[in-house]
């Protein structure tokens, strides 16, 4: 790989569609937003960035995460166009 190619990859970004529910929707004051992040961004890093933006009160350790409408692991990779949802403790039943 040439040096130029590496620079291009580092600069590449991806668009992630984030949906908000329950207290996160209250704190973000929106249902949904599209965020553009560096291509290598992990789910944990994505939540950290959104935490800084919206001042979410829940730490990441209390949340679960879903990618494209399925529960995912925090270590799963995300790709351009993915839909991501951070899940606060549920209360069904």
């Amino acid at each position: 790989m040439s040096n130029t190619a590496v620079v291009t990859i580092a600069d590449a970004t991806m668009d992630i569609n984030v949906l908000y529910f329950a207290s996160l929707a209250d704190e973000a004051n929106c249902q949904q937003e599209t965020v553009t992040v560096q291509q290598s961004t992990s789910l944990i890093e994505l939540y950290e960035q959104l935490c800084q933006k919206h001042r979410f009160s829940r730490p990441q350790s209390e949340l679960r995460v879903a990618i494209n409408d399925y529960f995912a692991k925090w270590t799963d990779a995300i790709a351009d166009g993915d839909s991501v949802v951070f899940i606060t403790p549920v209360a069904g039943g």
Binding site: F21, D26, G92
Partner: protein, 163 residues
């Protein structure tokens, strides 16, 4: 104002008929109107089954010592349907049951309204009891549904099953 940011999670994308068809096919659905328990029960009718067990979770007039006026459930429909389908599949592997159906209601509910319904049919009684309880517990743990209770003084709060 808060209603605005939650409107996507207070209603579902499907018609009532589509919901019952989905419940019959996958064993799980979300619904944003009153649950028709007889319709679900009829779907489970099977001459080979000697046992039918069902659970109805209803809105109580109190939570701990606090008087509840009403509450609202919010759901993440697409994840709920994927997860619900997986729960029913898993229940059929774990227990000797013939079929199971569960429905969770979302939106504004009054005292006495059914929020969740779980029905199981099987040849013998113990697997129906065990599966019904396991499905309910797993729904409460894993289905992305949230609720806000409203109290007499008009305050409300987000609740959680797991603290």
């Amino acid at each position: 104002m808060t209603d605005n940011v939650h409107s996507h999670s207070m209603t579902i994308k499907r018609s009532v008929d589509e919901v019952y068809k989905l419940a019959e096919r996958d064993g799980f659905a979300l619904l944003d109107t009153a649950i028709n328990e007889d319709r679900l029960k009829n779907t489970l009718d099977d001459d080979s089954c000697g046992a039918f067990v069902c659970f109805e979770g209803r809105v109580r007039n109190h939570n701990n010592a606090t008087s509840v006026e009403r509450l609202t459930y919010y759901g993440y429909e697409d994840l709920a349907l994927n997860q619900g389908r997986a729960i029913i599949e898993e229940a059929k592997k774990r227990f000797e049951i013939t079929h199971a159906i569960a429905i969770h209601r979302i939106g504004a509910l009054e005292i006495g309204d059914v929020a969740v319904w779980v029905g199981v049919v099987s040849a013998h009684r113990y697997p129906a009891f065990d599966a019904c309880r396991w499905i309910l517990d797993t729904i409460k743990a894993d289905i992305p549904v949230w609720k806000q209770e409203y109290y007499e003084n008009d305050a409300s709060k987000w609740l959680s099953n797991n603290g």
